[in-house]
Protein backbone atom coordinates (compact mmCIF):
# COMPACT_ATOMS: atom_id res chain seq x y z
CA UNK A 1 0.00 0.00 0.00
CA UNK A 2 2.73 2.43 0.99
CA UNK A 3 4.59 1.58 -2.21
CA UNK A 4 1.57 2.58 -4.30
CA UNK A 5 1.44 5.97 -2.54
CA UNK A 6 5.19 6.43 -3.10
CA UNK A 7 4.90 5.65 -6.82
CA UNK A 8 1.86 7.91 -7.24
CA UNK A 9 3.58 10.83 -5.52
CA UNK A 10 6.78 10.39 -7.54
CA UNK A 11 4.75 10.22 -10.78
CA UNK A 12 3.00 13.41 -9.72
CA UNK A 13 6.41 15.10 -9.25
CA UNK A 14 7.52 14.03 -12.76
CA UNK A 15 4.23 15.18 -14.31
CA UNK A 16 4.54 18.54 -12.57
CA UNK A 17 8.12 19.01 -13.80
CA UNK A 18 7.10 18.27 -17.41
CA UNK A 19 4.13 20.64 -17.14
CA UNK A 20 6.38 23.39 -15.76
CA UNK A 21 8.80 22.95 -18.65
CA UNK A 22 6.05 23.11 -21.29
CA UNK A 23 3.93 26.01 -19.94
CA UNK A 24 4.61 29.62 -20.92
CA UNK A 25 2.37 31.37 -18.39
CA UNK A 26 4.84 32.37 -15.65
CA UNK A 27 2.20 32.70 -12.91
CA UNK A 28 0.99 29.15 -13.61
CA UNK A 29 4.60 27.92 -13.53
CA UNK A 30 5.21 29.60 -10.16
CA UNK A 31 2.05 28.08 -8.66
CA UNK A 32 2.95 24.64 -10.06
CA UNK A 33 6.35 25.07 -8.42
CA UNK A 34 4.59 25.58 -5.09
CA UNK A 35 2.50 22.45 -5.60
CA UNK A 36 5.69 20.58 -6.60
CA UNK A 37 7.20 21.53 -3.21
CA UNK A 38 4.06 20.42 -1.40
CA UNK A 39 4.18 16.98 -3.06
CA UNK A 40 7.89 16.73 -2.21
CA UNK A 41 7.01 17.60 1.40
CA UNK A 42 4.55 14.69 1.53
CA UNK A 43 7.29 12.37 0.20
CA UNK A 44 9.57 13.57 3.04
CA UNK A 45 6.80 12.82 5.55
CA UNK A 46 6.60 9.27 4.14
CA UNK A 47 10.39 9.03 4.69
CA UNK A 48 9.84 10.09 8.37
CA UNK A 49 11.77 13.33 7.88
CA UNK A 50 9.12 15.67 9.33
CA UNK A 51 11.48 18.59 9.97
CA UNK A 52 12.67 18.55 6.35
CA UNK A 53 9.06 18.26 5.17
CA UNK A 54 8.06 21.24 7.30
CA UNK A 55 10.89 23.34 5.88
CA UNK A 56 10.07 22.29 2.30
CA UNK A 57 6.38 23.17 2.78
CA UNK A 58 7.07 26.51 4.49
CA UNK A 59 9.91 27.63 2.20
CA UNK A 60 9.13 25.95 -1.14
CA UNK A 61 5.36 26.19 -1.15
CA UNK A 62 5.05 29.30 1.00
CA UNK A 63 7.68 31.99 0.76
CA UNK A 64 9.32 31.04 -2.58
CA UNK A 65 5.94 31.09 -4.34
CA UNK A 66 5.10 34.52 -2.88
CA UNK A 67 8.51 35.98 -3.77
CA UNK A 68 8.25 34.46 -7.30
CA UNK A 69 4.85 36.10 -7.79
CA UNK A 70 6.32 39.41 -6.57
CA UNK A 71 9.22 39.04 -9.03
CA UNK A 72 6.84 38.15 -11.91
CA UNK A 73 4.79 41.25 -11.18
CA UNK A 74 8.02 43.24 -11.77
CA UNK A 75 8.63 41.64 -15.19
CA UNK A 76 6.45 39.96 -17.85
CA UNK A 77 3.61 37.51 -17.25
CA UNK A 78 4.43 35.28 -20.21
CA UNK A 79 7.58 33.63 -21.38
CA UNK A 80 8.54 34.75 -24.89
CA UNK A 81 9.34 31.62 -26.90
CA UNK A 82 12.08 31.82 -29.49
CA UNK A 83 13.07 28.98 -31.79
CA UNK A 84 16.70 28.20 -31.09
CA UNK A 85 17.15 24.53 -32.11
CA UNK A 86 20.95 24.36 -31.68
CA UNK A 87 20.91 25.93 -28.23
CA UNK A 88 17.99 23.73 -27.14
CA UNK A 89 19.78 20.59 -28.37
CA UNK A 90 22.92 21.53 -26.39
CA UNK A 91 20.79 22.16 -23.27
CA UNK A 92 18.99 18.81 -23.60
CA UNK A 93 22.32 17.00 -24.10
CA UNK A 94 23.89 18.70 -21.05
CA UNK A 95 20.87 17.90 -18.85
CA UNK A 96 20.84 14.27 -20.03
CA UNK A 97 24.56 13.80 -19.29
CA UNK A 98 24.22 15.29 -15.78
CA UNK A 99 21.08 13.22 -15.06
CA UNK A 100 22.76 10.02 -16.29
CA UNK A 101 25.78 10.75 -14.09
CA UNK A 102 23.60 11.31 -11.02
CA UNK A 103 21.58 8.14 -11.64
CA UNK A 104 24.85 6.19 -12.11
CA UNK A 105 26.18 7.64 -8.82
CA UNK A 106 22.95 6.74 -7.00
CA UNK A 107 23.49 3.05 -7.88
CA UNK A 108 26.49 3.07 -5.50
CA UNK A 109 24.50 4.58 -2.63
CA UNK A 110 23.44 2.38 0.31
CA UNK A 111 19.81 1.22 0.36
CA UNK A 112 17.21 3.28 2.23
CA UNK A 113 17.30 2.37 5.93
CA UNK A 114 20.46 0.25 5.62
CA UNK A 115 21.93 0.06 9.18
CA UNK A 116 25.47 -0.25 7.78
CA UNK A 117 25.22 2.96 5.74
CA UNK A 118 28.06 5.41 6.57
CA UNK A 119 25.58 8.03 7.80
CA UNK A 120 24.29 5.61 10.49
CA UNK A 121 27.72 4.48 11.69
CA UNK A 122 29.57 7.83 12.03
CA UNK A 123 28.43 10.34 14.70
CA UNK A 124 24.70 9.59 14.58
CA UNK A 125 24.76 6.81 17.25
CA UNK A 126 26.65 9.14 19.62
CA UNK A 127 24.00 11.88 19.18
CA UNK A 128 21.10 9.44 19.57
CA UNK A 129 22.56 7.89 22.74
CA UNK A 130 23.82 11.05 24.47
CA UNK A 131 21.30 13.70 23.39
CA UNK A 132 18.56 12.86 25.97
CA UNK A 133 21.01 13.28 28.89
CA UNK A 134 23.22 16.05 27.50
CA UNK A 135 20.59 18.30 25.90
CA UNK A 136 17.29 16.90 27.19
CA UNK A 137 15.23 18.23 24.28
CA UNK A 138 12.60 15.78 22.95
CA UNK A 139 13.14 16.79 19.28
CA UNK A 140 16.61 15.44 18.51
CA UNK A 141 16.78 17.37 15.23
CA UNK A 142 16.60 20.63 17.18
CA UNK A 143 19.29 19.50 19.63
CA UNK A 144 21.63 18.64 16.74
CA UNK A 145 20.89 21.79 14.70
CA UNK A 146 21.05 24.29 17.53
CA UNK A 147 23.54 22.73 19.95
CA UNK A 148 25.84 20.04 18.49
CA UNK A 149 25.99 21.82 15.14
CA UNK A 150 25.59 25.34 16.52
CA UNK A 151 28.43 26.69 14.36
CA UNK A 152 26.73 25.48 11.16
CA UNK A 153 23.45 27.16 12.09
CA UNK A 154 25.30 30.39 12.98
CA UNK A 155 26.88 30.27 9.52
CA UNK A 156 23.50 29.67 7.85
CA UNK A 157 21.98 32.61 9.72
CA UNK A 158 24.91 34.75 8.56
CA UNK A 159 24.21 33.70 4.95
CA UNK A 160 20.55 34.76 5.27
CA UNK A 161 21.64 38.03 6.91
CA UNK A 162 24.08 38.70 4.04
CA UNK A 163 21.43 37.91 1.40
CA UNK A 164 18.96 40.31 3.02
CA UNK A 165 21.52 43.11 3.34
CA UNK A 166 22.65 42.59 -0.28
CA UNK A 167 19.08 42.78 -1.66
CA UNK A 168 18.38 45.92 0.39
CA UNK A 169 21.64 47.54 -0.73
CA UNK A 170 20.97 46.80 -4.41
CA UNK A 171 17.23 47.35 -4.79
CA UNK A 172 15.96 49.63 -2.03
CA UNK A 173 15.77 53.30 -3.07
CA UNK A 174 17.58 54.89 -0.17
CA UNK A 175 16.81 58.52 0.44
CA UNK A 176 19.49 61.08 1.26
CA UNK A 177 18.64 61.14 4.97
CA UNK A 178 19.41 57.43 5.20
CA UNK A 179 15.84 56.12 5.46
Amino acid sequence: MEQIIDILLLLLVVAMAIAMARLTNLIAIAILGGVYSLVLASIYVLLDAVDVAFTEAAVGAGITLTLMLAAISLSARRERLRRRPVRNAIAVAACSVVAAGMIYASLEMPHFGDPDAPIHTHVAPRYIEASPEEIGVPNMVTSILASYRGYDTLGETTVIFTAGIAVLALLWRWRRDGR
Binding site: I63, I135, N139, T142, L145, A146, S147, F161, G164, V167
Partner: protein, 140 residues
Protein backbone atom coordinates in the same frame (compact mmCIF):
# COMPACT_ATOMS: atom_id res chain seq x y z
CA UNK B 1 -6.45 43.89 -4.65
CA UNK B 2 -8.44 46.58 -2.89
CA UNK B 3 -11.77 45.72 -4.51
CA UNK B 4 -11.94 42.03 -3.52
CA UNK B 5 -14.13 42.12 -0.41
CA UNK B 6 -14.03 38.38 0.36
CA UNK B 7 -10.23 38.19 0.07
CA UNK B 8 -9.87 41.21 2.35
CA UNK B 9 -12.20 39.87 5.03
CA UNK B 10 -10.67 36.36 4.96
CA UNK B 11 -7.13 37.78 5.12
CA UNK B 12 -8.05 40.01 8.04
CA UNK B 13 -9.32 36.95 9.92
CA UNK B 14 -6.48 34.64 8.87
CA UNK B 15 -3.35 36.77 9.41
CA UNK B 16 -3.47 36.80 13.25
CA UNK B 17 -3.71 33.00 13.26
CA UNK B 18 -0.79 32.67 10.81
CA UNK B 19 1.34 34.84 13.12
CA UNK B 20 0.15 32.88 16.18
CA UNK B 21 1.04 29.60 14.45
CA UNK B 22 4.51 31.00 13.67
CA UNK B 23 5.05 31.80 17.35
CA UNK B 24 3.84 28.27 18.24
CA UNK B 25 6.33 26.71 15.77
CA UNK B 26 9.06 28.94 17.22
CA UNK B 27 8.40 28.04 20.85
CA UNK B 28 7.50 24.40 20.21
CA UNK B 29 10.60 23.64 18.13
CA UNK B 30 12.17 21.72 21.04
CA UNK B 31 9.26 19.29 21.21
CA UNK B 32 7.95 18.84 17.68
CA UNK B 33 8.99 19.53 14.10
CA UNK B 34 9.86 23.12 13.39
CA UNK B 35 12.18 25.73 14.81
CA UNK B 36 13.47 29.21 14.20
CA UNK B 37 13.86 28.96 10.43
CA UNK B 38 10.39 27.61 9.68
CA UNK B 39 8.80 29.96 12.23
CA UNK B 40 10.53 32.97 10.66
CA UNK B 41 9.33 31.99 7.20
CA UNK B 42 5.71 31.54 8.37
CA UNK B 43 5.83 34.85 10.28
CA UNK B 44 7.09 36.64 7.15
CA UNK B 45 4.40 34.97 5.00
CA UNK B 46 1.73 36.41 7.30
CA UNK B 47 3.04 39.95 6.76
CA UNK B 48 3.57 39.39 3.02
CA UNK B 49 -0.04 38.21 2.52
CA UNK B 50 -1.18 41.31 4.41
CA UNK B 51 0.93 43.46 2.08
CA UNK B 52 -0.37 41.68 -1.04
CA UNK B 53 -4.02 42.25 -0.09
CA UNK B 54 -4.01 45.64 1.65
CA UNK B 55 -1.24 47.35 -0.28
CA UNK B 56 2.43 47.88 0.32
CA UNK B 57 2.01 51.31 2.00
CA UNK B 58 -0.03 49.84 4.84
CA UNK B 59 2.54 47.07 5.30
CA UNK B 60 5.38 49.61 5.46
CA UNK B 61 3.30 51.68 7.90
CA UNK B 62 2.82 48.62 10.12
CA UNK B 63 6.42 47.45 9.74
CA UNK B 64 8.84 50.29 8.86
CA UNK B 65 12.13 49.33 7.24
CA UNK B 66 13.98 50.70 10.29
CA UNK B 67 12.44 47.98 12.47
CA UNK B 68 13.25 45.32 9.84
CA UNK B 69 16.90 46.46 9.76
CA UNK B 70 17.03 46.12 13.56
CA UNK B 71 15.51 42.61 13.21
CA UNK B 72 17.90 41.50 10.44
CA UNK B 73 20.98 42.36 12.46
CA UNK B 74 19.48 41.89 15.94
CA UNK B 75 18.67 38.21 15.41
CA UNK B 76 22.18 37.40 14.25
CA UNK B 77 23.66 39.46 17.11
CA UNK B 78 21.45 37.56 19.58
CA UNK B 79 22.80 34.25 18.20
CA UNK B 80 26.43 35.40 18.33
CA UNK B 81 25.79 37.02 21.72
CA UNK B 82 24.74 33.69 23.23
CA UNK B 83 28.14 32.36 22.09
CA UNK B 84 29.92 35.31 23.74
CA UNK B 85 27.85 34.83 26.91
CA UNK B 86 28.93 31.20 27.10
CA UNK B 87 32.55 32.37 26.73
CA UNK B 88 32.09 34.71 29.71
CA UNK B 89 30.43 31.93 31.71
CA UNK B 90 33.62 29.92 31.40
CA UNK B 91 32.83 27.55 28.53
CA UNK B 92 33.73 27.38 24.87
CA UNK B 93 31.95 29.40 22.15
CA UNK B 94 28.27 28.31 21.76
CA UNK B 95 28.60 25.76 24.60
CA UNK B 96 25.21 26.42 26.23
CA UNK B 97 25.78 23.98 29.12
CA UNK B 98 27.64 26.61 31.14
CA UNK B 99 24.82 29.21 30.89
CA UNK B 100 23.14 27.71 33.99
CA UNK B 101 25.61 27.24 36.84
CA UNK B 102 23.54 24.49 38.53
CA UNK B 103 22.23 22.30 35.72
CA UNK B 104 23.90 22.03 32.29
CA UNK B 105 20.67 20.65 30.76
CA UNK B 106 18.84 23.85 31.79
CA UNK B 107 21.65 25.86 30.22
CA UNK B 108 21.24 23.88 26.99
CA UNK B 109 17.47 24.58 26.99
CA UNK B 110 18.05 28.31 27.52
CA UNK B 111 20.76 28.45 24.84
CA UNK B 112 18.67 26.59 22.24
CA UNK B 113 15.64 28.83 22.97
CA UNK B 114 17.65 32.05 22.52
CA UNK B 115 19.55 30.82 19.47
CA UNK B 116 16.36 29.67 17.72
CA UNK B 117 14.76 33.02 18.57
CA UNK B 118 17.71 34.76 16.90
CA UNK B 119 17.34 32.62 13.76
CA UNK B 120 13.57 33.28 13.68
CA UNK B 121 13.94 37.07 14.02
CA UNK B 122 16.59 37.29 11.29
CA UNK B 123 14.74 35.01 8.84
CA UNK B 124 11.37 36.76 9.33
CA UNK B 125 12.93 40.23 8.90
CA UNK B 126 15.01 39.27 5.83
CA UNK B 127 12.07 37.62 4.02
CA UNK B 128 9.71 40.53 4.73
CA UNK B 129 12.39 43.07 3.74
CA UNK B 130 13.06 41.29 0.42
CA UNK B 131 9.34 41.27 -0.39
CA UNK B 132 8.90 44.93 0.55
CA UNK B 133 11.88 45.91 -1.60
CA UNK B 134 10.49 44.11 -4.67
CA UNK B 135 6.90 45.26 -4.15
CA UNK B 136 7.83 48.87 -3.44
CA UNK B 137 9.81 49.03 -6.72
CA UNK B 138 6.85 47.70 -8.67
CA UNK B 139 4.46 50.08 -6.95
CA UNK B 140 6.20 53.26 -8.12
Amino acid sequence: MNEHLIVRVVTKMLVPFVLLFAIYVQMHGDFGPGGGFQAGVIFATGFIVYGLVFGIERLIKALPLRILLFGISGGLLLYAGVGIASLFAGGTYLDYGVLDSHDPVHGQHLGILLVELGVGITVASVMTAIFITFAERWHR
